[in-house]
Structures are given as structure tokens and as C-alpha cells.
Symmetry: C2
Subunit: 194 residues, 2 copies
Amino acid sequence: MNIGELIRSNRSCRRFEEHHRVDISTLRELVDLARCSASAANRQPLRYILSADPDTNAGIFSCLGWAAYLKDWPGPSPGERPAAYIVILGDRETAKNYWCDHGIAAQSMLLGARAQGLAGCMFGAINANKLRGLCDIPPRYDILLVLAIGKPVEHAVLETVDDSGNIRYWRDTDGVHHVPKRTLEELIVETYGD
Amino acid sequence: MNIGELIRSNRSCRRFEEHHRVDISTLRELVDLARCSASAANRQPLRYILSADPDTNAGIFSCLGWAAYLKDWPGPSPGERPAAYIVILGDRETAKNYWCDHGIAAQSMLLGARAQGLAGCMFGAINANKLRGLCDIPPRYDILLVLAIGKPVEHAVLETVDDSGNIRYWRDTDGVHHVPKRTLEELIVETYGD
């Protein structure tokens, strides 16, 4: 897969083959991709907690808000939950502002996961206090994102936002996840040159 | 190149073959990679201004702060300046918070550029008022990042941060750009499972 195919096939995934293990060495490889990615002023303030442990995974799972637009779906059932997590922290003692470093890092890691036949999802809707207690996260670290990772069992397709402008993803009766994306014309507001 | 090689070879670049043109269709392909990337709650609030025009490029160039750690270097000389720019905007009427969407988008676009033999650099140090006037950017848009893009003429190498903890990049007498990165051990603060 070239990078274009990889990015397009890298869809947020929320149902997994939970019994398919993702081990810590795989998670470390993904963090190494983040490590080698750009960071504002090269400060590198991001830190990581890795979990491939079923008990810890269950705790992290309970801290996450799943798929806000799927009102009738509380999140994946047992057996379809993520096999691993990467918690992205920001170290206040390293930088005052994380800018968009966690977006850069998360994209690198999920592209790396996708290239290995895995899939994932970024969570910003986190019960941070609960997660802080669960993983005993010191106050110097801000909780920025959680990545859920596993072998995907759901299929997602990109579509074009229609005239209604509705960007809410939805799931059809076959379980296919539909993601409306704005057109390139809507996104590009000005062009200079040719 | 696999994704790991691509990410590791995708170093921030600040000197280019300015006469090597990057056309608007190439920039549009890069924005399409951002378009197909993840966005918080799928709101897709990012918008883009593209420039492959020498006069506009000169104006954008004058709005950027180059390489804060290279105190004796005011930025690339004429002939080594970027051939193109992508300005990343946030549309306040689409979302109240852009989270780290611009990091995700910027990483997708620079990986796409790298795969085409180009290179780039993300700028957060922007004279936003000047750029807003130059490109007549309406108030509804926040200026989030500028990506400079072109054919690279500099070589960058990753190194390990030494005991001093100094993360400042530096340039040697051969013009090679050295980027100290923290070790994986420093970044991973806790591991659960194996």
C-alpha cells in the first residue's frame, strides 16, 4: 500500500477481534514512530502508557466515551473490545503547550498499526480523573488522548457530505460504518498559482 | 518505503531547490490526504489556502519564523526557499475547538509530500496579522499552521538526546541538520502486560 492508500484505509475502528493479541513490543514499535515524528520546537513533551493487559484494558475501556453519534450503541461488546491501548500524556515539565504534537504522534501510530493489519481509534472523550486513578498517573502529566488498538472486525466507508451538511457517521443494518467527509472544494478556500 | 521508513525519513526541511516547481494539483492531492484523515467527532473544521505562486510565496515567507534554535541563520536564502505553501485554517463556524486535527492533517500531508520526493516543515511561528492581510483571510478562520513544501536540498539526521537533555537541533559545518530525539525509554512511563 502506498501512503495514500494507507491513509484512506486507516479508518477509525470501534469493533475488534478482542482475542487477537497485540503485544507490548508492537505498541513500543508504534511509539517509536511517534518518537521519530515532528514535535513543535522539537521539545518532545509527549509520554506514553501502554497496555496489553486484559484487566488494565477493562479499566481503560470504562474511561472512554464511545461513538457519540451512535446513540443506541454503548460501545463494543465483550469479545469486540480493543486488545491494547496507548495513552498519550503531555509532560508539563517539558513544555507549557503541546500544540498539535499529539495529533502528529497519533496519526503516525495509527498509520503504523494499519500497516500491520491492525486498526484503532483516537479518544478525546476520556474520564480523565478515573483514568488518572486507575493508572496512577502523576499530576505532572496531562491526559491528552487514548488510542484503542486491535484487529478490526468492522468495515468503514468514506462518503461525501450531502447537501444537508450532516457530518455524523452512521452504521447500516449490515454493520458497515459510514463516514461522511466534506469535499475538497469545501476545504480549499483559496488558491494562488497553478 | 514502508510507513516506518517514510516516517523516519520525513524530517522537517528548511532549504529547498526553489526552482523545482510544486504545482497546485500536487498540493490538492496532499489536502485530499488530510481530508481522508481522522477529525475529532468528524467535524472537519480545517480549511486550506494553497500557494504555488512566486509572489504569494514571497509574502508568506515573510510571515514565518525560521528555525528558532539556529540563531545565526535568518532562514533560507533566495533560491533555497519553499516552492509552495499550504496554510491550515480552522473554521470557527464549523467547530469551537480544533483539538489536534491540524496535527493529524499536517502529518498526513507531509508524509504524502515525502512519498513524492518532496519535503516540508510545519510552522506555528507565524505573523498571523500580516498573513491574514496578505491572503485576505476572513475573521471566521483561525490561522493554525503553515506548511512549507519543496524539493529538499538539506540532509537531516536523527540522533539521541545526550545526558545534558538538550533537544535543540543544530547544523554542522557540512550543512547537515542534526535532530536530537529522546529515547523510547524516556517516553514510555508505564507498561501493562507483555
